[in-house]
């Protein structure tokens, strides 16, 4: 039979029907409404009761208990509906001022994660001594005792041989209980190697605000007071924090503000924006400086923040250098230098050619943005800056906030509010000589070397460069790793060029993985320990910002544990500490015993007590009325626990003007802070800053290294062989790459614009597809210079010609029955990381994910 499939073009038109014709019928319906009202107005109380009772306790079969969702980094406070110890539903915690009771689509998938049939029931050990992607580990179950004994023996071996630095702890998704395991345990054992995942996340995004206004963190945005919102690769309705809050208010933001979005792919947020600027991947910097150019040239900068020309005449004229003396700056540093060194020639016409965005549109957006000052937000996402040369783009994009005075201002970009959690007791007294000596070694990720400065918070070698650890391990450089523990991480899936991790992990003689599912990382482990699910089974807390508030939200065990899981950050280190103490090394256990219950003063005597006491310890100032410092007030632990979330005081606007944590105390267009950091790094290596630039793939030389500026993107692959630029993006259903074993993930995958249910598609512009003879539904192989994947082609207008967009999240070859096509053998869909080479934005240590490689497509 004829199986021809035509492309559907007029779906909506068809579905809506002829609305115009229906006016009469609508009026008719209203008339009957009126009649009915007259007859039965007494009945409406039922509905009022209805409205009033939602949110309050109903006569349901269960109970809403507080929880925290870490499906993405929004870290919302939640409530979970518990029936007979079973989690049944999830909703936003109405007590949070950050997410205001709002949920999101991905939060519901947590239920399918919790009750994932492929979770590990008990500890297991490898029985196949050979390690590798092709080697079935042949896991068999073991008791917690046996598993922990084995680990303790291995650690003791290191201690006995004075080589504790060969121990390594890899951290993935964490709560703020992390330091128990990540920091204290690593230090007391005696290793420098606590390696977090942070540089896989968005360190380059923090680079921009730090080297302009001195905050190494994510920002929050006062969107409800903004008149212009300019999004740079950020997709707040789907993937960027704070998804729930921004989803809640976006309908109002649309009313009040012009929304423009810079992104090569039509994202979820682009669907609700006034302007879409489908930029050529990697060229964001050019657009940012051109917009800055227009704002200055048009005289639209925010004078109460930046200052003005002494004589009031705007001397920012395209192509002309300005005398620094002519301008009197207020709360910023180096606006004229910025103009002279970078902006003066960066006209919309210049940028148009580079970015592929029409000059009129650049001008229009720039002018609109400038006119909205200071209520104009330049919102930096990961896309423009998690690139090899993304550091200065991060600065250029964030500098726009400085130009329009949106920093720390109403309708602008804000930092985190104050919160009052406490750090755990210091480990120093429990570090013996072996530990102190061990900790002094260079870290396995090689951070701080000339080509990887990792300038976190102005400190060379301060930031992690996660993905480089694989090379450190593979090359025994600076030394070999003998014992490693990873928790809630999956670097052999989540890091670019994961094949390196597969080899590196195979090389580690003894590897432990703490995880919920047997992942691509577990595949190489000797011992796998079953972890609790953060949302339902763990004690912990996290902090998040949004809506001008910060909340601290609790994670609590609220369901019956179905199998024998233990909490990664507290129970497991405690149990290990006990095992180490049995072997004559009790420093860790003695240290942990100092985490006393603030209510009773009792020291912990078991893993369970330790998990609870350490949380109470860390959050005491939030719930103990005697130690109250600000924000929500509780009358004790129980009250805090029942609410599940603490909210900060409201945001104090403009308090940081002139008091920013930069070298000059001002918002730096000319970054003295970056200059100091770079010079220090150069000095460490006995070279000049220009050599550092060269070693880190940057083109800037001299003074330009200290100002935001445009750099041509560094993209691997020859254009002739690899005609497309790869565009990676995130799904609104991703729970950090951990939702691929949930049926709902696939059944609702088309909630990501352009994607399809039960498939993994690469989105190709129809013009390109035509050139290459590709049709929707074709099975294709995508290759980059460093790897390849198989997926399905999808022709879509929402992607820039010359680029191919593909969503991250699928392509697991382990993790579970649904995540993989054949567990341990064959992947379902393809993982973008198989295409992305292990490249870095070296100044921050970030892995580069965007505009980093070219790709080619073949039909298979």
């Amino acid at each position: 039979m004829d199986r021809e499939k035509k492309v559907r073009k007029s779906l909506m038109k068809d579905f809506l029907g002829n609305i115009n014709l229906s006016r009469r019928s609508f009026i008719k319906a209203s008339a009957t409404t009126g009649a009915a009202v007259a007859a039965g107005s007494g009945l409406s109380f039922e509905l009022k009761a209805l409205a009033a009772s939602t949110g309050a306790k109903g006569n349901g079969m269960g109970q809403w208990l507080p929880a925290t969702c870490q499906g993405c980094t929004s870290w919302c406070s939640k409530q979970v509906y518990i029936v007979d110890g079973r989690a049944v539903k999830v909703r936003g915690n109405p007590h949070s001022k950050v997410n205001m009771g709002a949920g999101c689509p991905r939060s519901h998938l947590a239920l399918q994660q919790l009750y994932d049939p492929d979770r590990i029931k008990s500890p297991m050990k490898r029985t196949n001594p050979k390690k590798g992607r092709e080697e079935d580990p042949k896991f068999v179950p073991v008791s917690w005792d046996e598993a922990l004994d084995t680990i303790a023996d291995k650690i003791m071996e290191l201690r006995n041989n004075n080589e504790t630095h060969k121990y390594m702890l890899m951290r993935g998704r964490y709560s703020y209980m992390r330091d128990v395991l990540y920091d204290r345990m690593t230090k007391i054992i005696g290793s420098p190697n606590n390696i977090s995942h942070s540089s896989l996340c968005a360190e380059a995004e923090k680079f921009g605000p730090f080297y302009t206004e001195g905050i190494w963190s994510y920002r929050q945005y006062d969107v409800l007071n903004a008149h212009y919102v300019l999004l740079w690769g950020a997709d707040p309705l789907a993937a960027n924090r704070q998804v729930s809050y921004y989803s809640k208010v976006w309908g109002d933001v649309v009313d009040k503000a012009t929304i423009a979005i810079v992104e090569p792919r039509l994202s979820a947020s682009a669907g609700k924006a006034d302007e879409w600027l489908p930029i050529k991947p990697g060229q964001d910097g050019a657009l940012a400086v051109a917009i800055s150019h227009v704002i200055l040239a048009e005289g639209l900068w925010y004078k109460p923040f930046v200052g003005d020309f002494k004589d009031g005449n705007n001397l920012f004229i395209a192509g002309q250098t300005v005398d620094e003396e002519a301008f009197e700056e207020l709360h910023t540093n180096g606006i004229v230098k910025y103009w002279n060194l970078e902006l003066k020639d960066k006209t919309p016409d210049w940028a148009s050619e580079i970015t592929g965005i029409p000059a009129e549109q650049i001008y229009r957006v720039a002018k609109g943005f400038g006119l909205a000052a200071p209520h104009a937000i330049s919102w930096l996402g990961g896309g423009p800056c998690m690139q090899v040369r993304g550091g200065y783009t991060a600065m250029a994009v964030h500098a726009l906030n400085g130009i329009v005075g949106a920093v720390d201002n109403v309708g602008g970009t804000l930092k985190a509010n104050k919160e009052y959690t406490s750090k755990f007791p210091k480990p120093d007294d429990f570090m013996d000589d072996i530990a102190k000596k061990g900790k002094k070694h260079e870290k396995i990720d090689q951070r701080g070397r000339l080509h990887i400065p990792c300038l976190k918070s102005g400190k060379p070698g301060g930031a992690v460069i996660t993905n480089n650890s694989a090379d450190g391990i593979l090359n025994d450089d600076p030394y070999e790793i003998k014992v490693a523990i990873g928790y809630m991480n999956n670097f052999s899936f989540s890091a670019p060029q994961p094949e390196r991790w597969e080899r590196a992990l195979s090389k580690i003689p003894f590897l432990v993985h703490i995880t919920t599912n047997a992942s691509e990382f577990s595949w190489f482990a000797d011992i796998v320990l079953p972890d609790t699910h953060h949302m339902f089974e763990k004690w912990g807390y996290v902090k998040a910002i949004g809506n001008g508030y910060r909340h601290v939200t609790l994670m609590q065990p609220i369901v019956k544990n179905v199998w024998d899981y233990k909490i990664d950050e507290t129970e497991i280190p405690w149990l290990l500490a006990e095992k180490l103490a049995e072997r004559g090394f009790d420093n860790l256990l003695r240290h942990y015993k100092t985490y006393k219950d603030p209510e009773t003063g009792k020291e912990p005597s078991s893993d369970k007590e330790f998990a609870l006491y350490s949380l109470k310890y860390a959050t005491q100032q939030l719930w103990d009325p005697a130690k109250y410092k600000g924000g929500d007030k509780f009358d004790g632990w129980e009250a805090f626990r029942k609410t599940g979330v603490w909210n900060s005081d409201p945001y104090p606007f403009r308090k940081r003007w002139g008091k920013m944590k930069t070298k000059t105390g001002k918002f730096e267009f000319y970054s003295e802070t970056l200059k100091a950091a770079l010079e220090k790094h150069a000095e460490n290596h006995g070279v000049g800053v220009d050599e550092v630039m060269k070693a880190t793939h940057y083109l800037a030389r001299g003074e330009r290294a200290f100002i935001p500026h445009y750099e041509e993107p560094y993209i691997l692959g020859d254009e002739k062989e690899y005609p497309f630029i790869h565009v990676d993006h995130k799904s609104r259903l991703n729970r950090e790459g951990r939702s691929a074993n949930c049926t709902w993930y696939y059944d609702f995958k088309d909630l990501d614009p352009g994607d399809e249910t039960w498939d993994d598609v690469a989105k190709i512009n129809p013009l390109d597809a035509k050139k290459f003879g590709i049709q929707s539904g074709d099975r294709i192989k995508i290759s980059s210079p460093t790897g390849s994947l198989f997926c399905t082609a999808k022709l879509w207008e929402g992607v820039r010609p010359g680029s191919v967009a593909k969503c991250y999240g699928q392509g697991h070859w382990a993790y579970g029955r649904l995540a993989s096509k054949k567990f341990g053998k064959e992947a379902r869909g393809g993982s973008s990381n198989d295409l992305i080479p292990a490249q870095y934005e070296a100044l921050s240590g970030s892995s580069a994910y965007y505009a980093v490689t070219r790709i080619k497509i073949e039909k298979v």
Binding site: M1, D2, E4, K5, K6, R8, S10, L11, D14, F15
Partner: protein
Amino acid sequence: MNKFYLWMGLISIGILLGLWTTFKVYTVGFTVYAKTDVLVWTLPLSAYIFFSLTSAGLAFVSSFPVVFGIQRYEVIEKRTVYLEIAVLMGSFVCLLLHLGAPLSVVYILFSPNPASPLWWLAVLYFVYFILLISAFWRIHTGKISKTLGTLIFIIAIFSSTTLGWLLGMTDARAALNASFFSFYFPLTGLASGMAALILFTMVYNKLSGQETTTEKRALFNEFSRLMGIIAGMVAVLFLWRTISGGISSTAVEYGAFKHMIGSIPYNIEFWLGLVIPTILMLLPKIRVTTSGKIVASFLLLVGMFAGRLEFVLSGVVRPLGQMAEGRPEIVGYMPTIYELFVVLFGFAVMLLIYSLGERFLKLEAAPE
């Protein structure tokens, strides 16, 4: 004798495959059919429509002597009525395998909805079945009941036109939606009913090798001419349906039918099922031969069978509303092996009943 058992053996294979399908449907699920949420009505239902309309067509034929008083048709009365029963049983088999929860049909009695044409259809078919059995019993015992015959005629009219109502009220699916079908169905039903009668009688004649009376021969020549004329009329109607709905209509809802024009079932229906039989039966030389009659009536039945499928698919292959999300404009259909078994089951049951009747109930006998 051996031939009969061989024939019965063949029929049993069909029945066994049908029972196997029934087992699969109730263990695995309806997923053994070409299931998508879009193709909710497919081959089992179209086969049901085919059988039930053929049965109604036979009822019209059987009403010639009793309702219209055309005495000379009485000689075929017994076979016609019996064939109606057999064909109706075939339709029940297909319907039962189409329904998701056939046991719940008791609620047609307990929870009636007279606003539903489907409810009326169920009631009519139930009454129809009882009447047919009674009528046949009367004929078998030697008499024609004028009352029963008239009732059967009325019910056949109502059941075939109710099917038109049933589809005519689907405002959502214009391709199914035309009161036109209240006329189209009885007419096409009559065509397939006549074809079935001619085919079965002719095959019987051929196999039994009995001499037919001149009277009977004349009767069937007349019949065949009538069948040709009706097939021609249907062809003309069909052409208008194609032009008005499929070609000139601007309504997007006709997309499914537009798609079906040019499809395999459409062309079988039009060329094999309507045009060729019309031509064959209008040529006197061919019309008078037994083989000519067999070929023409067979083709017409094949065409009508394909036509019912074409018709059902015209209503469903174009997804409606939210079902269209993520789907192409037209969802392709290819019957699964189990759907084919359902059809086979229907035919096997019909043929079993008919063959047993032919063997044991003297269908040649004319009532008094």
